[in-house]
């Protein structure tokens, strides 16, 4: 297949599939609501007034476009390709997550829903949802694994300040997947007045497509910015992959640019060989979870395996179905970096560029440190700096034996 000739906007197909992946694997109670959502979204998507409202909010509330920053010192230190950082960390609330919550909240309002729910891992999506709920005067309930409530305490407090109810989830592994289960249970019970804002490109159709559409602003801006600043397309894109929303947001507008290599970076935790990781694309197999078919971390009986990552936002056993499809197609490559490598990425970016990245984004940084030196000096990489690291300082202090 010639990537340059493929119609990348043709998928998912009408039934929500990316090849074998995606779909709508949900309980009957949610089927009609999901069709209603799909209908509402496709009519709004075609509505210029909606696009204008979305663009206006992105500009004046989020602060877009986010800069594409040439990291000159880091580039010199690594001695290879020029490194450009797409600064999603500079968005209002500190991560890319807000792009998507703005879009979905406008949709929720349009559908007449008065209550929004969300799941969150790192707390960034929870904060973004609570933020938009505060602004629109909607009730907001955020489900968060009890483990993540502990390790992302600053974000829990932010959500509460914003007026959201944070519900710690004690079932299963007490992390992101369990928060998603619990949010689904809430949705199935309160579907009449409730809009579920999923925070990544997972879940049943139309979520993976809708969240991709909202996040694609990242790649559209970056493509234009690099052409302005460097006069040519980048040679590589690098983004971390939890559910995969910041990654697909950066990648999607470049898919037809055959010369651009695409790397998604998963969390290898303690190392792929230890089994303690969160890298379904690197070491998992296809299965069905949370409403879609995708690569999963599962055992031989089809039970989902507990994941391990230093980063709460990457600590998820599945991944958005479009990534599974891009992997099988060979259009994107998926790699994994360990907790230790991510820590090195964290410190490097902090010390060399004065930018404290989120632990999620630090995974992308760690891979850039591996990739850049192997490339020529006239080549370039765009890395998605998906979020800022303030939320992680407690985790980092603890790991390094420092009491704050």
């Amino acid at each position: 297949m010639k990537f340059s000739e493929f119609n990348w906007n043709a998928l998912p197909d009408a039934t929500g599939h990316f090849g074998a992946y995606g779909g709508r694997f949900i309980a009957e109670t949610l089927m009609e609501p999901i069709y209603q959502l799909e209908q509402a979204y496709s009519s709004l998507k075609a509505d210029p007034a909606f696009q204008a409202e979305f663009d206006r909010d992105l500009k004046h509330y989020v602060g877009r476009p986010s800069p594409l920053y040439f990291a000159e010192r880091l580039t010199r230190e690594l001695g290879g390709a020029k490194i450009f950082l797409k600064r999603e960390d500079l968005n209002h609330t500190g991560a890319h997550k807000i792009n998507n919550t703005i879009g979905q909240a406008i949709l929720a309002k349009h559908m007449g829903k008065t209550r929004i729910i969300a799941e969150t891992g790192a707390g960034q999506h929870g904060v973004a949802s609570a933020t938009i709920a505060a602004r629109l005067g909607l009730e907001c309930v955020v489900y968060m694994g009890a483990e993540d409530v502990k390790r992302q305490a600053p974000n829990v407090f932010r959500m509460k300040l914003l007026g959201a109810t944070v519900v710690p989830v004690h079932s299963g592994s007490k992390t992101l997947k369990d928060a998603l289960n619990e949010a689904m249970r809430d949705w199935v019970t309160n579907v009449d007045n409730t809009f579920y804002i999923i925070g990544t490109v997972a879940g049943p159709h139309p979520y993976p497509a809708m969240v991709r559409d909202f996040q694609s602003v990242i790649g559209r801006e970056a493509r234009q910015q690099i052409l302005e600043q460097d006069g040519r397309l980048p040679d590589a894109l690098v983004a971390c992959v939890g559910g995969g929303s910041n990654a697909i947001g950066l990648f999607h507008p470049f898919l037809a640019d055959e010369s651009v290599a695409i790397y998604g970076v998963e969390a290898a935790g303690s190392g792929i060989s230890t089994g303690k990781h969160a890298a379904p694309l690197t070491a998992g197999k296809s299965g069905v979870l949370h409403g879609n078919r995708t690569y999963l971390m599962e055992d031989d009986n089809g039970q989902i395996i507990e994941t391990h990552s230093i980063s709460a936002g990457l600590d998820y056993p599945g991944v958005g179905p479009e990534h599974s499809w891009l992997k099988d197609l060979g259009r994107a490559q998926y790699v994994a970096v360990t907790d230790a490598q991510a820590m090195e990425g964290f410190h490097t970016l902090t010390r060399k560029e004065g930018i404290i990245p989120a632990l999620e984004s630090s995974h992308a940084m760690a891979y850039v440190m591996e990739l850049a030196p192997k490339m020529a000096k006239d080549q370039s990489i765009i890395m998605c700096l998906s979020g800022r690291g303030d939320k992680d300082i407690n985790t980092i202090a603890r790991l390094e034996g420092i009491t704050l």
């Binding site: 709508r24 009957e28 109670t29 249970r185």
Partner: protein, 267 residues
């Protein structure tokens, strides 16, 4: 004639309603399941719904979630559960058994392999909570080819055109979920249920079962007035929760609750 069809015919001839208990296989220990199945039949169960535990039971409330967790402590697998059904079948060839669970354990075993093994073990129906008819184009024909009735849920949110699509895909019986929400939720409006069943009746001649919110003899009897079958799950599993170490008491309490429902339904 399938076991499920024969079961409903026999009940109809006697003017009785089907009583369908749900228990999670392997909860609290795999050794209890086969004896429990036999005892439930003794107590008046018409069909047994056997839950296949899953690590992420998104459509289930806390009671059944915990049942899945208790079972998975013992790594109860789909293969183990098929073996339980096979053992049950050694002495019971008439009571239908329906497996209820999520798609992933079936998908990983392989659709064809599962359908063959389930048929060989003596399974009669399969209710896959997260497999709507739309996603079943590949697997549903395999179920039918192997004598497995695909059982589907119909919900309060299901519009008429979906009722029709479900009626076309279903066999055995159709399971009406009386509430929005997860398993184990409360309160049930019998008049509302009756109206919804009447609507579903326009699209199918299959027996109509009702579940979610049935917790005692009184609610069972009320639903029995309007439905062909009454499904009870969380209320039984609460009996497991009460004395997880004491299998004798679990079997006694579950059988007792079922027997009270049976006599309320027959009264």
């Amino acid at each position: 004639m399938s076991r499920i069809e024969a079961c409903f015919q026999a009940l109809k001839a006697q003017g009785k309603k089907a009583l369908i208990p749900y228990v999670t296989a392997g909860d609290p220990h795999p050794s209890i399941t086969v004896p429990l199945m036999h005892q439930m039949v003794e107590a008046g169960a018409s069909i047994i719904e056997l839950g296949v535990p899953f690590s992420d039971p998104m459509a289930d409330g806390p009671t059944i979630q915990l049942a899945h967790e208790r079972s998975l402590v013992h790594n109860t697998s789909l293969t183990d559960i098929l073996a339980m059904v096979q053992t049950f079948r050694q002495t019971n060839q008439t009571t239908p058994v329906v497996l209820m669970g999520y798609l992933n354990p079936i998908e990983i075993m392989g659709y064809e392999a599962f359908a063959q093994a389930a048929q060989a073990a003596g399974v009669d129906g399969v209710l896959t909570v997260d497999l709507p008819p739309e996603e079943g184009k590949e697997v549903l024909p395999l179920f039918k080819a192997h004598g497995l009735d695909p059982i589907f849920l119909v919900a309060p949110t299901t519009p008429a055109h979906r009722m029709q699509a479900i009626a076309e895909a279903a066999s055995g019986f159709v399971y009406y979920v009386s509430l929005k929400g997860v398993t184990g939720a409360n309160t049930l409006d019998t008049a509302e249920v009756a109206a919804r069943l009447a609507k579903m009746r326009e699209y199918t001649d299959l027996p109509l079962g009702v579940g979610f919110g049935i917790k005692d003899a009184a609610t069972a009897a009320a639903v029995g007035q309007v439905a062909d079958a009454v499904v009870v799950g969380s209320a039984l599993i609460k009996q497991v929760e009460a004395t997880p170490e004491d299998h004798t008491t679990i079997i006694k309490n579950i059988s007792g609750l079922l027997a009270s429902m049976r006599s309320a339904l027959d009264a």
